[in-house]
């Protein structure tokens, strides 16, 4: 199948409360999709579901036989220990896990790839800095460099441009487009609708239930956005069991 991902009546959530409710549809290989919606709409949950961190409450996700190392995931909340004594070079080089694994060596070719990745994100010269000394924007660039090295066919980004300066955003968007050009599938959760309108051809407007999915211009219409805003953010402790049947 040409679809990189297919969602079949997918419901994802926590403790029986759905955060993503009855999502159906597919993401084509090579697509560049923005996932937007109000707070609590289930966007991060959706990405976590795709990565496999949370199992579906109902329905399924088909990943076209992709392995864990075929998915590069940049989460919104990072568990990175900035005080750990590791250089930028070594940190970014971890992106080579897909090819090197636990024991694999890192030879001349791989080293060249690391240097190229650092140059692409504009961090050449920073190789020996410890990660604790990097600014927020520099750290984000470093994470993108790592993503570059991961060389994955499916890339998931959760709010990649939050708290990053506009120059950095421009630079990183170039990389996103490069990935798109390389026919990689990119799904990004974003809150800046201007960026979505100008940079992303396809959008999924999520308000727990899918409100609209398709070409960005159609999806981000005024009435769709209004509908999305009206959805309930909170889990309802007294909610009944969901009766909607799978189609």
């Amino acid at each position: 199948m040409t679809a990189a991902l297919r969602f079949r009546n997918l419901t994802l959530g926590y403790d029986r409360h759905p955060a993503v409710h009855h999502l159906d549809g597919s993401v084509e290989t090579g697509a560049l999709v923005a996932v937007v919606g109000p707070n609590g709409a289930g966007k991060t949950t959706l990405l976590k579901g795709i990565v496999g961190v949370i199992p579906p409450l109902a329905g399924a996700i088909e990943r076209n036989r992709a392995l864990p190392q075929d998915v590069a995931y940049l989460p919104q909340v990072l568990e990175i220990d900035r005080s750990f004594p590791i250089t930028l070079y070594d940190f970014v080089a971890m992106g080579l896990w897909r090819s090197a694994g636990v024991f694999g060596g890192i030879g001349k070719q791989e080293r060249a790839r690391v240097e190229t990745a650092l140059a692409t994100v504009g961090l050449q010269g920073f190789e020996n800095r410890t990660i604790g000394t990097l600014s927020g924007g520099q750290m984000q660039r470093a994470l993108f460099a790592r993503l570059l090295l991961q060389d994955a066919p499916l890339i998931l980004l959760d709010e990649p441009f939050a708290s990053v300066d506009s120059q950095t955003v421009r630079d990183l968007l170039e990389i996103v487009h490069r990935w798109h050009g390389e026919k990689r599938t990119v799904i990004a959760v974003l809150h800046d609708l201007e960026v979505v309108r100008t940079q992303f051809p396809e959008s999924l407007l999520l308000a727990r239930e899918p409100v609209a999915w398709g070409p960005t211009a159609e999806v981000l219409s005024v009435e769709n956005l209004l509908r999305a805003r009206r959805m309930s953010e909170a889990f309802d402790d007294s909610a009944e069991v969901c009766e909607v049947d799978a189609a």
């Binding site: 568990e79 590791i86 636990v102």
Partner: protein
């Protein structure tokens, strides 16, 4: 000078053995200590040392002051606690530190119970207090074997070990090596502690693991260098501690750990990386 620094080791075999034993122990315990420190698990060493106790006590009850039985008993108890804590923390809401605390306390209570049931008045903790001055061939070989295994495993699992500390989320997303690596690491903690308690006693074994690591933090910016410094500090502590015990009559185990403690304080004050030196000697800043 020669007589003071080298003489004792030339004259006495037990001094040579003690030195070799400490060197071997340093090679294994120091790297483990560095990783414990980097993973914010510094107190785990102490917890595990207590967890090992009932296992060693059972070994002692079955076969007396025998190397193999006490070692095996200690290792089994340590593994059980580590495994139990790891599994519980991964499968339930309880985090690792709490589940480890729960397990080691249960283990310790069991140890005390077993000792008291036996009826003998021998202070078991004291009997298990090994002495670096009494290392026989079997114990030396045991310590050397543990250290070799430790170094080998560190080299092999370097990447997942580091990644688990720096960015566990990333490790989880690219590989399933995280959980087994963690358990293997805890296993290394256990065997190094067991080896250490034959040489220094359970409580001091933690000292030779954690103090050099803490000292090394102030001398290095990357992990490899940190481990090298820690090993050197540990070896030096062994050497100087033995000399101190020889010339001044202080008990050997505490003397070694005190030297290590002194190394830590000196590193804290004078180490170039992240210590107190910034406040003591500010210095002038660079152009860029």
């Amino acid at each position: 000078m020669y007589d003071f620094l080298i003489g004792p080791f030339v004259e006495f075999e037990f001094m040579r053995r003690a030195l070799v034993g400490m060197a071997a122990l340093s090679l294994g315990a120091a790297p483990v200590g560095v990783f414990l420190m980097l993973r914010r698990m510094s107190l785990t060493g102490d917890a595990m040392a207590h967890a090992i106790l009932p296992g060693a006590a059972i070994g002692f009850l079955i076969a007396g002051l025998d190397l193999i039985s006490m070692t095996v008993g200690g290792i089994v108890a340590g593994f059980a606690v580590a495994l139990g804590a790891g599994v519980v923390s991964r499968m339930t809401e309880l985090k690792e530190d709490a589940s480890l605390a729960a397990f080691y306390l249960i283990s310790l209570a069991l140890g005390v119970l077993i000792v008291s049931l036996r009826g003998s008045n021998v202070d078991l903790l004291h009997v298990l207090f090994g002495s670096v001055l009494a290392l026989d061939d079997a114990t030396l070989i045991l310590i050397a074997a543990f250290s070799t295994v430790t170094l080998f495993v560190h080299a092999l699992l370097w990447r997942p070990l580091v990644l688990e500390c720096v960015d566990p989320g990333f490790l989880r997303s690219v590989s399933r090596a995280g959980a087994p690596t963690h358990l293997v690491f805890l296993a290394l903690v256990v065997i190094n502690l067991v080896g250490g308690f034959h040489a220094l006693g359970t409580l001091l074994a933690v000292g030779i693991m954690m103090l050099p690591a803490a000292a090394a933090r102030f001398w290095a910016r990357d992990t490899t260098r940190m481990i090298v410094v820690a090993v050197l500090v540990a070896m030096f502590s062994g050497y100087a501690g033995l000399l101190l015990s020889y010339h001044s009559g202080l008990p050997s185990g505490p003397a070694i750990i005190l030297v290590a403690g002194l190394a830590y304080v000196v590193s804290l004050a004078l180490g170039p990386v992240g210590g107190l030196r910034r406040y003591l000697v500010p210095g002038r800043h660079l152009e860029a």
